[in-house]
Amino acid sequence: MKADPHGVLTGVHFIDGDHACCEGALAAGARFAAGYPITPSTEVVERFAARVPTVGGTFIQMEDELAASITLQGAVWGGAKAFTVTSGPGFSLMMEHIGYAAMTETPCVFVDVQRGGPSTGLPTLPAQADMMQARWGSHGDYEIIALCPNSPQECFDLTIKAFNLSEEFRVPVFFMMDEVVGHMTEKVVIPPADEIDVVPRKHTRKSVEEYLPYGTNGDLVPEIAHAGEGYKFHVTGLTHDERGYPNMTPQTQDTLVRRLQNKIRNATDRISMFEEENLDGADVVVISYGITSRVAQRAIELARAKGLRVGKLRLITAWPFPENKIRELAGKVKAFVVPELNLGQMVHEVERAAAGAAKTYAVTHAGGNVHQPEQILKAILEAAR
Amino acid sequence: MAKGRVDIVVERCKSCGFCVEFCPTKVLALSSAFNSKGYHPPHVVQPEKCSGCDLCGMYCPDFAIYGHKNNPASKQEDGDES
């Protein structure tokens, strides 16, 4: 379906990533946010608090991130599209409820505007060190989707994509921004509402007698109902059967948790989004995401100017990790160069998928500012040798 | 005849004794019978004293007993059935 025009601020704007993300959420149909202030993410909810009373919706600043991360889920079950926004320390506090969203298959979006860590770290400076945490932060086996914008424009466009994916797969989706993308101001074009595709909630049309809250008919994603519609269903974080009733046996556990995993994993190729350039015939491929990809772009250009055959693969979706793509590429190239604003996180996934078929060079950075192009160029030169 | 009667779901009972204790007219006592879990469910020992007040039902934590009036005020029944 198309976006609700009430939430779409059509026009050409000059805004930062945080602000663009808020507009993306509104355009996607988000009408509920629960948040807690944390630098460098706060502007997203501040803007939402200012916008939503004139669009129709609710913002509530909760007493902590533990509350925010579950209040938004209550709102989802009450019928709204909902999200929260945070950074490192708040993200850590939200982990239990991220697991709850995965287990109960609550469609929602968690925005993490990454900053230097660990702990209080660098509140006003960038990092990309929560990438593994987005994937593995909560306990137990579950799968999630994570997107990495690299510009304010993408903060708008991809937030819509994040909501769409969350509804399609009934899964929490992570919007992995960083402080630079969040606070850089660039041109953001917001199209008319009828040019924006929005995925509706997979709402059941079954009768009360027929409906099974966690039953799947062939596809791995159950249909959802909301409180107040007469279905009288039960939702629990305990291991449950198709009726949603707690059923704590190894068999039910196996069925449920594998479905939660396969729901995403089987659709990896459909979910994955990249930006690719010059992969054919490349000796070295630079794999990057988020703000680092913009520095990598410069490094790649410098390397190509030196006559090197360097390709670019930008991960727009970091999770599920595009193993097949990397494995396939690994068979054709000499090496991967993986610059990240961390001491090595996604590079481990690249290495794992490459399985030794290509060498992997990490270009690490503890965070606080972005790489210099020369740092990445140095790694490219070494990889090309 | 008695103003009320109780229905007992024997299999749900856990012999907590609340119904026996708090019946205002001492209609019930724990029986010596067992249900399949090994508990002694209550049985009616003074049926004529039952008023159908359902205090037993309100107290029962296991939803194992229900007291009701024989002639609900809204209906005009013969009351002569046995």
């Binding site: 609700d4 149909g29 009408r31 629960a34 009373p53 004139t54 669009v55 129709g56 919706g57 609710t58 509530i60 909760m62 007493e63 533990l66 509350a67 925010a68 579950i70 209040t71 209550g74 709102a75 989802v76 079950w77 009450g78 019928g79 709204a80 599209k81 909902a82 239990e96 709850y100 509804e167 509706p200 909630r201 709402h203 909301h226 409180a227 107040g228 007469g230 279905y231 009288k232 269903f233 039960h234 939702v235 629990t236 974080g237 707690p246 | 229905d7 749900r12 856990k14 012999s15 907590c16 004794g17 609340f18 508990y39 205090l55 039902g57 309100m58 107290y59 934590p61 296991d62 939803f63």
Partner: protein
């Protein structure tokens, strides 16, 4: 003679009976009172949602035939807040235990009371963490023996009515599982109120709290409630603290009026934005 059905059956997921609660546990008794209150208040069950946390009382959500949510430990209240704000037509009940609501959930309890979110909170207080084997709870009376205070607790227990009154609740009552009629009436009263209502229900945990403290079984505890309860409607909540063997002050302590969160929200937006204010629309999720 027709077989009349126990009205509580209509509220139960009978396919999940028997429940897991111990012999002599009072939680099931509170559910009877809850069902009675629903019948008396003629609450539309289709727009009633029940949210619980983790613990023995938290399992109520799984046994009632309502839209029910068994959430995380301590976080039933914020979940319920989201539910209510997204769909103001819902009647939202939080049904959880003393540990869940006042320890890990304590912060959310006081903020929801402060905000006066329109929630009916039923707090079953068995003075212990029962589900996990009988550890000390914030409500455990001084000197009580628990698995984490094996030599006796040396902390004062929370006076929950005092806490929630101070935080801003508009309806505060305490009963015990002995007071089945009064409790049902109290819950029905809370349904008539708009704002944050809190009903504490003292309940036996014969397996852990009573047993470890040699206080008898469930029936002994019920008799203890009968003997020691003193009904004092309107009592100052500062005076209703509990001790292991002392008097239990029960009754309706607070019944006041204060605009609830959504009323205040709306009023503020109307005042600031006038015509530009657009109230929460129906779900546009498609």
């Amino acid at each position: 003679m027709s077989e009349l059905v126990n009205p509580v059956e209509a509220f139960l997921r009978t396919d999940r009976m028997p429940h897991i609660w111990c012999p002599g546990c009072g939680i099931g008794t509170t559910v009877n009172c809850f069902a009675q209150a629903l019948i008396e208040s003629k609450i539309d069950l289709e727009t009633l949602a029940l949210v619980s946390g983790i613990g023995c009382t938290g399992r109520v959500a799984g046994y009632v035939k309502l839209d029910s949510f068994h959430t995380t430990h301590g976080r039933a209240i914020p979940f319920a807040t989201g539910l209510k704000l997204a769909n103001p037509k819902l009647n939202v009940v939080v049904y959880s235990g003393d540990g869940d609501l006042s320890a890990i959930g304590g912060n959310h309890l006081i903020h929801a009371a402060r905000r006066n979110i329109d929630l009916k909170v039923i707090c079953v207080n068995n003075l212990i963490y029962a589900m996990t084997g009988g550890q000390t709870a914030p409500t455990t009376p001084d000197h009580a023996i628990t698995s984490t205070n094996p030599y006796g607790s040396f902390e004062a227990g929370f006076n929950l009515p005092h806490l929630v009154e101070a935080a801003g609740a508009v309806y505060v009552a305490r009963w015990t599982t002995f007071h089945v009629r009064q409790l049902a009436r109290s819950i029905a009263e809370a349904f008539k109120k708009k704002g944050f209502s809190f009903i504490e229900i003292l309940s036996p945990c014969p397996t852990l709290y009573q047993r470890r403290n040699k206080l008898g079984d469930g029936l002994d505890t019920m008799k203890f409630y009968k003997e020691k309860s003193k009904v004092r409607h309107g009592a100052p909540t500062s005076e209703v603290g509990l001790t292991m063997t002392g008097d239990i002050v029960v009754g309706k302590f607070v019944d006041r009026d204060r605009p609830d969160y959504q009323t205040m929200m709306r009023a503020q937006y109307v005042e600031s934005l006038g015509d530009k204010y657009v109230e929460q629309t129906e779900c546009v999720c498609g």
